[in-house]
């Protein structure tokens, strides 16, 4: 219910621009929004619980009484002392009834066991993605840009090409949203855009590729979702149409393929 098979959204803000987005996110209806909100809250709760158990076991000092009452939260925020605020919050959570309950039920676990389990839960509650979205932006005369949400289990820092944009990666991480990896290929570097077939696991798949001038490897568009032939063909037609429209060198090729409907089904 929360995810669907990959499907395609097409956006054409201007005749020379097209954005193809393939996503597993279904159309956002009111029930779905409520559902997603609930899930987000649930994730936040699980995250808080995991952090609290770690705090109670390893960092809580029983001698200190709860200081939360003595210092108002607003003051701490105002002063910008986030670290102190966090410790106060954790202390409050620990001393609350659910916090006490958590501490008591995790009592039988050994230190190392608790550390591992709680860390794994923390990681998953932070970085699990429900939906995968990948897109391809085509700008005639400029080039194409692929963007893909990188794997949830890899580093949250996207691989920026020159490494200058480190902070941006951390910012993504900080907000807990899906980090995306983008790549822009200028028109003069594009040698061709085409559909290929290859073995992948126990199946043969169609995928859209961009051949880049002077590069050994090809660029796979939608590398994570690898949508089916129908979507790939539609995107391929759209890309050729948008990129090479009015270009006599490519018109004949793109045109003839476009007319036949599906590749090569001219007769019988």
């Amino acid at each position: 219910m929360l995810t669907t098979a990959p499907h395609l959204y097409l956006r054409r803000p201007s005749p020379t621009t097209a954005e193809f987005t393939v996503t597993t996110c279904p159309p956002l209806t009111i029930p779905l929004r409520i559902c997603l909100l609930t899930i987000s809250l649930l994730r936040a709760a699980i995250f808080a619980a995991a952090i609290t158990t770690i705090y109670s076991r390893f960092f809580h000092e029983p001698s200190h009484p709860s200081p939360i009452t003595s210092v108002p939260v607003a003051d701490l925020l105002y002063q910008g002392d986030l670290l102190l605020l966090a410790s106060h919050l954790l202390q409050a959570l620990h001393s609350s009834p659910p916090g006490q309950f958590l501490a008591s039920i995790t009592q039988p676990l050994s230190n190392s066991g608790l550390a591992v389990i709680a860390s794994v839960i923390t990681y998953f509650s932070l970085f699990t993605q429900l939906h995968t979205t990948e897109s391809l932006l085509v700008l005639r005369g400029l080039g194409i840009q692929t963007s893909t949400s990188s794997s949830s289990f890899s580093s949250p820092i996207p691989n920026t090409s020159d490494g200058s944009n480190r902070w941006r990666g951390w910012k993504w991480w900080f907000w807990g949203t899906t980090p995306t990896k983008t790549r822009f290929i200028p028109t003069e570097k594009i040698r061709d855009v085409l559909i290929n077939e290859a073995f992948r696991g126990f199946e043969v798949r169609y995928y859209l590729i961009v051949i880049v001038e002077g590069e050994e490897d090809i660029v796979v568009v939608f590398p994570r979702l690898l949508p089916g032939r129908k979507i790939v063909e539609e995107v391929w037609r759209g890309v050729r149409g948008c990129l090479y429209e009015g270009d006599p060198n490519h018109q004949s090729l793109g045109g003839s393929w476009g007319q036949t409907g599906t590749i090569g089904r001219k007769d019988n």
């Binding site: 077939e197 290859a198 073995f199 126990f202 199946e203 043969v204 798949r205 169609y206 089916g228 032939r229 129908k230 599906t262 590749i263 090569g264 089904r265 001219k266 007769d267 019988n268």
Partner: protein
């Protein structure tokens, strides 16, 4: 109008590796495509050749990544090929699976899985096997397993058919003989405009003209290299104006070299070493006689090629060789030294007496062997197993006897409406042997369960169907 089919040719052996089976598959596929069928080839990945490839005529080749163990045969795992095979079959909408070569593990697996999936299967046997040694017994058992539930078998010669029927305990009715063919255009005799320094001369051969005998073969024991080693000195002794050209390589080439040294025949025997298939014709046209001393041979394409080049053929009377060429093109010998020498002597005498019209051989071979003809006959097999032509027409009617068309027989049950029910298949496998039968049944059941699992895990709806390459307009059958 007969239907067209989507056919998958499955074999371990395909280009880029050169060889007889490989070129057979390629030529047959090409001609079947010319007749309006869709053909794909499934083989394993070769060095530098993986993934999905198209050949220039639209022939699609799947080079499946797979473990290769010995002489490009893949490792025999009974089930591991199934998931990828099913995916390919479904995306290409295959109706008929056609396996080639009995040493190919891919082919055996594909036939088993295809039957599990409810497809028609054909098997082409390209080679002869013995019955006595351990390796043959094992291969024969494996063959029996696969062929217990195949729809039809094609052999390249009648001898090969007899051999296969015995090895796999088949009903001879379900085995057809369709010989190999040659591309006659690639094996033309030397035209006068080409290189006039070589023979043949325009005038008849005189007693002092040099006659060249060509041998092209892999120098293995089964190709009769020992026979050749023994015969060459005696032939050269009896016939002073003769020369030998030997092309090919193999473990026995050292024996030949020793023979040449011992008898000091360096100026009369030329060893060319390994040559490519494209060069075969150029070597052949340098000679007058082609000597083929093989000890076993299913078909012997090379003697057809030699005759097509206008060479008089001397060959041993073994395997399928006597079926291959008409008697006026060949001199037969028993596979023994003395007889081979006598036969070669006869051939030399006949050439010197100008009794043999070798210049006509090319046209005659051209009419006898063509891949179009092979494709037409193979297509008839496909029609037969798919029920497009009636059982009676396909298998022939029994004379008298049991004329009831519904009576059960191992063959009759297979055509047209053959039952793919698991229980019927198990019955066929169970008859393979006391222990083997049970083992085979177990394999088939596991295969079936695997099939059900795959249907659940990779549902058919999730598999993209390939667009077809534009099919050629079907030519009218010339039968």
């Amino acid at each position: 109008m007969a239907p067209t089919y989507n056919i998958a040719m499955v074999s371990d052996f395909f280009y880029p590796q050169p060889g007889g089976v490989e070129s057979h598959i390629y030529q047959l596929s090409t001609k079947l495509m010319d007749r309006g069928h869709k053909v794909i080839i499934i083989t394993h990945a070769y060095e530098g050749r993986t993934g999905v490839r198209y050949l220039t005529n639209g022939l699609k080749v799947y080079h499946v990544p797979f473990l290769v163990i010995f002489r490009s045969a893949t490792f025999p795992t009974v089930f591991s090929f199934f998931p990828i095979f099913r995916n390919i079959v479904l995306r290409e909408r295959i109706d008929i699976v056609h396996g080639h070569a009995s040493l190919s593990n891919f082919c055996h697996e594909a036939i088993l899985h295809a039957r599990t999936m409810g497809l028609r299967t054909v098997f082409t046997d390209h080679s002869l096997f013995g019955f006595a040694d351990a390796a043959s017994i094992l291969t024969n058992k494996l063959l029996k397993f696969t062929l217990s539930d195949v729809d039809h078998v094609i052999c390249v010669s009648h001898t090969c058919k007899e051999n296969t029927v015995l090895r796999a305990s088949l009903d001879p009715l379900m085995v057809s003989v369709i010989p190999n063919a040659v591309v006659a255009e690639n094996f033309k005799p030397l035209s006068p405009s080409e290189n006039p320094s070589y023979p043949p001369p325009a005038r008849p051969l005189g007693p002092h003209d040099i006659i060249t005998i060509v041998v092209i073969s892999r120098l293995f024991y089964n190709k009769g290299t020992d026979l050749l080693t023994a015969a060459i000195p005696r032939i050269l002794e009896n016939h002073p104006n003769t020369r030998f050209i030997i092309a090919g390589s193999g473990p026995k080439s050292i024996d030949l070299e020793q023979m040449i040294e011992q008898n000091v025949l360096q100026d009369r025997v030329e060893m060319l070493g390994p040559i490519r298939h494209e060069e075969v014709r150029d070597v052949m046209v340098r000679g007058h006689i082609y000597l083929h001393p093989s000890l076993t041979e299913a078909f012997g394409t090379v003697i057809v090629e030699a005759a097509s080049c206008g060479l008089y053929v001397v060959c041993t009377q073994v395997g399928g060789i006597p079926e291959v060429l008409p008697s006026h093109m060949t001199v037969f010998a028993k596979p023994e030294e003395d007889d081979l020498i006598t036969a070669t002597g006869k051939a030399i005498a006949a050439l010197r007496a100008n009794k043999v019209r070798t210049e006509l051989f090319h046209e005659q071979v051209k009419t006898m062997y063509s891949w179009e003809n092979v494709a037409v006959r193979t297509e008839r097999v496909y029609n037969g197993i798919c029920g497009a032509i009636s059982e009676g027409e396909f298998y022939g009617y029994y004379e008298g006897g049991n004329s009831n068309a519904n009576s059960w027989s191992a063959t009759r049950g297979r055509s047209g409406v053959q039952s793919f029910a698991l229980i019927d298949r198990l019955k066929r496998y169970y008859g393979c042997g006391i222990w083997a039968g049970k083992l085979f049944c177990l394999c088939v059941i596991v295969d079936y369960l695997l099939f059900l699992f795959l249907e659940l895990w990779f549902p058919r709806e999730g598999i993209d169907v390939c667009p077809d390459w534009p099919r050629k307009k079907r030519k009218d059958s010339r039968e």
